[in-house]
Amino acid sequence: MKYVEEFRDPAAARGVLAEISRVTDQIGATADAPVRIMEICGGHTHAIFRYGLDKLTPDGIEFIHGPGCPVCVLPRSRVDECIDLAEQPDVIFTSFGDAMRVPGSYKSLLQAKAQGADVRMVYSPLDALELARRNPDREVVFFGLGFESTTPSTALTIQQARRTNVLNFSVFCNHITVPPPIKALLDDPHMCLDGFVGPGHVSMVIGLRPYDFIAQDYGKPIVVAGFEPLDLLQSVLMVLRQIRDGRAEVENQYARVVPAEGNPVSLAAIADVYETRPSFEWRGLGEIDASGLRIRPDYATFDAEQKFQIGYGAGQARAVAEPDGCACGEVMTGRVKPVACPHFGKGCTPELPLGALMVSSEGACAAYYQYGGARAVEVAK
């Protein structure tokens, strides 16, 4: 338990770990027949590796890393469309830093910028709106991506653009939602998952009710969790206890931040600006019904798809093949570990990512590379 000393409260962590071992034994889970728990959120994936929770917990528990890293599930075709937009002469293309390194079919946004496109990294969509105010003769496009934790920020920014009449601002909307891919994974006959650790900050916006189907229709436990190592361990224990007791419920370990009903202002802004797309493409997972959002016709002025006739809005959404031999799809769905990919640590590293799972610290491959560390890379070589 070498990492336990790093915990704020090592004694509490030891207590929870002992209880986790006990309940794992009661379930009868072993290394050969483990309980498989998916942490949905990429932030949790990162924390699990950073604190070595996968090593601290018994062999009878296997963590499956879920699809909750927005840049990791971004298809190459959408990156290509960003670059098409960014290379238009009048456009200033703005994006969160994470998304700038995601490889498209030809290049990333960062490479397009190096070749002369006006691409700027911003911290907030509000920065992009301010850029539009200061550059009235240019079109400022913001690349809106992310789950429900980020969606309210672009919705509120679009509302503000309309209120303040900033008409040279638009959002290239690639927002996605958490519940549909979970349903897709649960419907996949190759996936066997015993329970979920639910995302904290997404749930702060959407609340707990959107997860009811996981417990009620699929009979699986889900526990919404915070980001401290102790939060994660407690949540795993809550999932295990449900499994042991034959219960399937939506529980909230992170109640100090996540209200059961979510955040009403955020939800109202999302509902005002966005509508659900019939389907949306996810890297590694394919098309998933009702899993993406688009801007309502009422806000067409602020919709880059409609303004520039690009992307899903133009019916040009095109599937682009993934790099040869890469295992992104299998890693994404928890079928194989990153080290099983032939590119891991060779053609694909955090410095020069081939697949999106290597781009962000929340991606499973990057987390393995960083903390599974030298050993994982050695094994791969």
Partner: protein
């Protein structure tokens, strides 16, 4: 990129657009407070600790929770990432050409 960072609201700058200045790990920047306003007069938000995500205050938290969250974010390297992103965002706003 989905993790929020704790910050403290220190002044209201535009009540109409729900904008305020927050101090985030020693750095000040303008944030939107619509999601935590809940109909109360905005001035009452001054001093409040909140989780800030991409320029939006998303949830009220207490000071102790703020300190703990910040520690975890520092350990994960996320706190510095956010501060770098804020600096880069400010840089992007500067006129060029």
């Amino acid at each position: 990129m989905c993790l929020g960072i704790p910050g403290q609201i220190i002044a209201i700058t535009d009540a109409d657009l729900m904008m305020a200045v927050a101090e985030i790990s020693g750095v000040r920047r303008e944030v939107n407070v619509a999601c935590i306003a809940e109909g109360a007069p905005l001035e009452t938000l001054v001093g409040t600790w909140t989780l800030i995500h991409v320029g939006f205050a998303m949830s009220r938290i207490d000071e102790d929770e703020a300190a703990k969250t910040l520690d975890v974010l520092r350990e994960l390297g996320e706190a510095q990432e956010v501060l770098d992103a804020m600096a880069e965002g400010a840089e992007s706003l500067r006129p060029r050409r």
